[in-house]
Every structure is written in C-alpha cells, then in structure tokens.
C-alpha cells in the first residue's frame, strides 16, 4: 500500500479514461496531460491504461510499504525521495519506508507519478479515473492508502528520457469546430492574432480565458461536446472543455484542440498565456 501522508492541493488517480457512457452524460475523465502520463508509464513498461497519480500544483507526501519502481514526469516540481532530489522521466527504485515528497512547483501545472504495474484502486464503470459522482471522491485525501503490486526486480530498457520543451510550448493547434462558420472577421482576427491569458476558473472540467472576443446572438440546440472543444458564450467568453467536461452543451463550438494541444493546455495555470493556431 501507498500511504498518502499529505494529499496536496488536488491529487487524483487517473487512467486513460472511462469509455462507453458518453450517451449517459459521463465524461471520459482520464489523464489531463496524456503525453506526459504515457511517458511515465512507458518508462516503467506499464500497459497504456495503467493508473497513475495526477498531481496538481501542490503535491503530496507519500510513503511506500513495499518495493517497487516509480517514475515521475509532466510539470517540474522539486521532488525528494527520502532526502535526495529525483528528476522527471527517470526510473527509480523505492523500498519499504521510503518517503516521496513534493516541494515547490517550478514549471507547468500537473505532474504524474507512475508505479510499476499501476495503482490498483477499484475500477468503476470500467475505469479508475476519479470523477465524482462516478467515484465516491473527486480527489485523494490525507491518510488514505492506495494499493500497488510489490515488485523487487525490474531492469528497464530505457532508464531516462530526455524531454523536449513541451512545458514552454504555448501554441495550441486547433481545427475548425462545428460552428466555426459563425465567426466573423473581427472575431477571427482576435482569436488567431492575439495571446490569451488563462483565467482563475480552470480545472479538470474546463479552462476559461481572461480576454473575451466579440459575442454573438446565436442560439443552438444542445449537441455533443468533447475534451478540447472551445465554446464561445453569447457574451464572448471563451471556454475550453477538458477531460471532465460536460458531454453536451448549447454554446457554439468554434474550435477543437488537437490531442497534443489538450496536453499542452493541461500544463497551464492562472496567468499563463496561450495562442491558437489553425492546423
């Protein structure tokens, strides 16, 4: 068992997501920054759908009671295994009694902790991804324990990954959304030739942007929305739906983020800037 000594700001268990229930209004959930989550799982040679811990801004303090191997990555935190600093995208062995503690966030917003063979929380509706009301809790709490398999021997094929400048990337590649055609020249000019700032209202459901563009008077029938759907409200507010986002909505869907753009955005926090680039 992994003991959560301190849970941090918003720490969850996530896997690839929950499929097959969109028609019942259940969001897919799953890794926000899929690119980073996949890398930490890959280094441990885990299955792609192995559950990892998703850490948001202020990280947890954790204690292991069995040997295993771990890999962290995504946002850059100062992270210590006992008293030694450990690096992103590198495999480490942990022993019973070892303490992993997250310190200061240095860059990015969400970090992932993978363990050999994944965390073994209960699957609900086919997934371990935490999302209330499907899972009883929306995030981990102090003093709870999380199951994992003991693993004493493992020789990884790749010990360390050199990571690109992913966290510095602020350009979100998008395609035209279903209601892209509603945008006039003025709106298009603002959308594609200006930077936008991440608003305080940002979480696993949606990211709002501080700057508005010209609004509209279009009223449409409710229709499907996806992670990465960029909605424009009548007052000109831009909302980007993320992994826990609602499955239907009534605002025009002006743009759609690429998979990689969702991962890039997942590493942005209040005050960071982004821009849109049409693919």
């Amino acid at each position: 068992m992994l003991k959560v000594l301190k849970s941090g700001l918003f720490t969850t268990i996530q896997d690839v997501g929950r499929f097959g229930y969109l028609n019942k209004g259940v969001p897919v959930a799953g890794f926000m920054d899929t690119a980073s989550a996949h890398k930490v799982n890959q280094l441990l040679e885990n299955d792609v759908d192995s559950a990892v811990m998703e850490i948001t801004m202020t990280g947890p303090t954790l204690e292991f009671d069995n040997p295993s191997f771990i890999c962290i990555g995504g946002a850059k935190h100062s992270v210590a295994l006992n008293n030694d600093r450990i690096e992103n995208f590198k495999v480490y062995k942990v022993l019973p009694g070892d303490i992993l503690s997250y310190g200061k966030l240095e860059k990015g917003f969400r970090s992932y902790l993978a363990i050999k063979n994944g965390f073994k929380t209960d699957k609900i509706l086919g997934s371990r991804s935490m999302y209330a009301p499907v899972t009883p809790k929306s995030h981990l709490e102090d003093n709870q324990t999380i199951a994992y398999e003991s693993c004493a021997v493992f020789s990884p094929k790749i010990v360390e990954l050199k990571v690109d400048t992913f966290l510095d990337n602020k350009v979100l590649t998008v395609s035209k959304g279903p209601e892209y055609g509603l945008l006039n020249d003025k709106q298009l000019e603002t959308l594609f030739f200006h930077d936008f700032t991440i608003a305080n209202e940002n979480d696993r459901m949606a990211y709002q942007l501080v700057e508005h563009i010209v609004g509209h008077k279009v009223s449409m029938l409710t229709s499907a929305t996806l992670p990465g759907t960029v909605q424009l409200t009548s007052s000109g507010k831009i909302m980007i739906l993320m992994k826990d986002g609602q499955t239907t909505g009534g605002y025009p869907r002006i743009l759609q983020l690429s998979d990689n753009a969702i991962s890039i955005l997942a590493q942005k926090k209040f005050g960071d800037t982004i821009s849109f680039k049409l693919d």
Binding site: N23, K24, G25, V134, D259
Partner: protein, 245 residues
C-alpha cells in the same frame, strides 16, 4: 419514415457530427435513433465507437486513430441513403415519482404567482404530460426533456443557486427536468424525484435512454422517504410501460 437531409462535418480528428434540420421534432429524433441503431448493428461496433444523440444531431466518436473525414463521410452518406425502417430496441415510458411538498418545491409559490395558477394546477399539469428524452448530458444522468405545455413555461430564476439538491425537479423556459446530482442551477424548483437518475453502482448507470419518454406522478412525503431508503441500498423499483413509435 421520413428521410431528412443531413449534413456531415468533422469535429476534431476523433469525431464526426451528423446534423438533421434544426428543429425539436419527434420525427427527426426518430430518424436519428433509427440511423444510430443501424450504424451500431451493421457498421460501427460499440466496442470502438461511441455515439451521442441529442435533439437534431448524432456525434460519432472513434478514439483509436484519426478519422479520415473525406472517405468516412462519403461512407456514412451512403449508409444513410440506404437506411431502411427497422424496429428499434424496446423503448419505455418511465413513471417517475415526485414529491411536490413545499419543503422540496421551494419555488412552487413563486411559480404559482408568476403563472397565476394554484399549486395544485401546476402539479396537475406537470404530471398529466408525457415528456420525450431528446438528450442526456450536461451532468451524468441529466435528461433534456421536450414536451412541456406552454402553460408551464416560466423564465429561469434571475439569480442561480449555488447548490440545487440532487433529485430536484425544475422548470425553466420550455424545459423541465431533474438535477441528477447536487449542482449549481437556475431552474425553478417545484419538487423532488425520489429515485436516483444516476447510479454508478449499476451496470447501466442511467436507466433512461434517448428516445424514451418520462411521466411524473405525485407522491406523498411518506412514500418519498421510503423510496429514498430503498435508493440508498439500491433496491428501488421503477415503474415503466413499453412504448413504440
């Protein structure tokens, strides 16, 4: 069965959006459900494809690889042209129990004033109509219901509440519905439904499907309390009747 003209558009690389004429119409919904069923049975297996029907649209989602839009949309068009009327899986009219006591129907008095109707009249009208499920979304288990009589149309509250209780039954404009979870909301609350609309412990967490119908019936407080206890232990029974288009 009417064959409406449809438009097909890309929706990112993992989805395509099929749209029927922009109207709330049972015949359009029927056409969408027929096509959805046809695709599921003959072409797009449920293991790999997810489909979201809502009002006048059907969204097809495939996560494993990017969809090649040009080819795939032509294929879908051909399938649609060849669509023939088939019988859909059994649909139901769900009879949902609602307690309209003032303790739950916290806006009944103000709705009564706004509409110039007694509370009994409001309950009588709300329970005498059958509503069509045009979509499920917004929250897990939230139904978009059509068919509210114009006499019950009342604008949403000016100030949304930060927390509307799970089970609350509301009115807003042309809509009525049930909040499946505690959530912020601006609808006028007229009662509380005693059976859970979303239960993650069940294999199908929401018993209703798009295309089903819903009818409300009024229950007394004692029955409501009993249902709530049954709901907590997962043994509640649902009243339903078969329904065919």
């Amino acid at each position: 069965m009417t064959h409406y003209p449809i438009s097909i558009r890309p929706f990112g690389v993992h989805a395509i959006l099929l749209e029927w004429p922009n109207e709330v119409d049972e015949a359009i919904l029927e056409n969408i459900l027929q096509f959805q069923h046809h695709l599921k049975v003959n072409h797009l297996g449920e293991e790999e494809w997810e489909m979201i029907p809502a009002y006048n649209s059907l969204t097809l989602i495939y996560r494993k690889a990017p969809i090649r839009f040009a080819e795939f949309s032509e294929q879908v068009k051909t399938w649609y042209t060849k669509l023939e009327q088939t019988s859909l899986p059994q649909r139901f009219i769900w009879k949902l129990p609602v307690c309209y006591d003032l303790e739950f129907g916290i806006d009944l008095k103000s709705v009564s004033e706004k509409l110039g109707k007694s509370i009994e009249e409001i309950i009588g009208q709300h329970t005498s109509h059958t509503y069509t499920v045009y979509g499920i979304g917004f929250l897990p288990g939230f139904m978009y219901l059509g068919g509210l009589p114009p006499s019950l149309e009342v604008p949403r509250r000016e100030e949304p509440r930060l927390r509307v209780k799970k089970g609350s039954v509301g009115l807003a404009g042309k809509q009525t519905g049930i909040y499946p979870q505690d959530s912020p909301g601006g609808w006028n609350i007229i009662g509380s439904c005693s059976v859970p609309m979303f239960d993650p412990k069940k294999k199908d967490p929401c018993f209703v499907n798009v295309g089903d119908k819903v009818q409300f019936y009024s229950i007394m407080r004692a029955e409501y309390d009993l249902h709530k206890i049954e709901g907590e232990v997962g043994i509640y029974k649902l009243e339903k009747a078969k329904w065919d288009a």
